[in-house]
């Protein structure tokens, strides 16, 4: 598998302090990389940099083999899709919410209908299609938020703690469904989470992030079984 995304010497400073310092990180096509770490580890900063919503102070990002800074912001963002912790649905119907990204891209109505119906069905919310998004439960709303991202069929899917605001039974069901969709589509995904069980369930590779640095990365079970140092062991509860 070739790398879709490659980061090298990436640094972000805030008020004089280095909050993100990534020497090297590659994300291969089709893999689901979970970035795990405690609160304040720099996961969200990395997420914002990857989404091109925050500029790094130094370093290089290669996307599809091209330096990301040579790609205009809009063109870059239209190759990715974000799912955040809160579903952040607009005050419109479920269908219109799922269609919004394609509308931004000027897709035809026929293409929008085809993709939206497919993904609403795939995420088990097709029956809610005409319902106002504000009347959904938390789990339903997050499913619509995921459908809204999958509809775009992006090169890179960025998930920022998408299950953290859900209750346990809803989270478990959604995690199962998302796992199945990601296995089926082989969509390259970066999944930010502080929940080790979620990472273990969903990811094909995990990277442990502490104090802005990637301390260890590898196959989830290996990382959990053999932490590379005391800091990682401490975070993993070993």
């Amino acid at each position: 598998m070739t790398a879709l995304l490659q980061l090298s010497n990436l640094r972000v400073r805030r008020e004089g302090n280095i909050v993100l310092d990534i020497e090297s990180l590659a994300v291969k096509r089709g893999e689901v990389l979970a970035i795990v770490g405690p609160n304040g580890a720099g996961k969200s900063t990395l997420f914002l940099v990857l989404a091109r919503l925050l500029k790094a102070d130094q370093g290089q990002v290669l996307f599809n083999g091209r330096p990301a800074n040579s790609i205009p912001d809009l063109e870059y963002r239209r190759q990715i899709a974000l799912v955040l912790q809160e579903p952040l649905l607009m005050d419109m119907s479920v269908y219109e919410n799922a269609a919004i990204g394609l509308k931004f891209r000027g897709s035809s109505k026929v293409q929008i209908a085809k993709r939206v119906n497919h993904w609403l069905h795939r995420l088990c919310v097709a029956h809610l299609s005409q319902r106002p998004a504000r009347k959904l439960s938390g789990g339903e709303a997050q499913r619509v938020s995921l459908a809204r991202a999958f509809v775009l069929e992006p090169d890179l899917l960025l998930l920022d703690e998408p299950f953290s605001s859900l209750d346990a039974p809803t989270r478990i069901r959604l995690l199962e469904d998302l796992k199945s969709v990601l296995t089926e589509t082989k969509m390259t995904t970066i999944f930010i989470t502080h929940d080790l069980q979620e990472a273990l369930k969903l990811a094909t590779r995990v990277a442990v992030m502490l104090n802005g640095r990637i301390e260890q990365s590898g196959i989830p079970q290996n990382v959990f079984d053999e932490p590379i140092n005391e800091r990682v062991a401490g975070f993993l509860g070993k």
Binding site: A51, L74, R77, D91, A149
Partner: protein
Amino acid sequence: MIFDSEIPQITLLSLRVSSVATAISLLIGLPLGTLLALGKFPGRSFLLSLINTGMALPPVVVGLAVAMTLWRSGALGDMRLIYTPTAIIIAQTVIAAPVVTGLTVAALQQLNPRLKLQLYGLGASRAQMILSLWREARLPLLAAVMAGFGSVISEVGASMMVGGNIRGQTRVLTTAIVLETSKGEFEQAIALSVLLLTITFLINWALTWIQQRGKE
């Protein structure tokens, strides 16, 4: 004495100047309020303070400033706008624009700040992101329009000072009410007041209906 035959003309002029002033205020206030709500630039807090102060500008103070500007010896005196409906529109715009701007800022700031990031993350251009936020804040934005219109249809000081209450030319409902009251023609003043209130109510009722559609 105001004759019945004059009332339609006075009413239409009131509606015209206040509607045009509100529309211009919207054209100024919506983009400026959006810039203040979403942007980060030096002087933003100062500008916000100015806008918030402007929301409570006394109409007579606005009338004085606009009159001095449009007066023959004023900066725009050559344009000969004093005592014309255009002068009233200018004064009313100065009154309504800070109201619309300030309430636009409030409307956009009550949205989840991460919504902007989410929209960008779904591939929205800057214009698409702003249009989406306006759509999302459409109820409070419509309230901003109502407040802006309400602030000018009911003001009298500025209209009197820059319009002059000239019969058949710049007499609007509020200045006509003042005139009738000053002459002791209370019945006429009450009738005009009821007319003004009815018009204001009907316009706000229509806007509220648009605002609340689908919310029940």
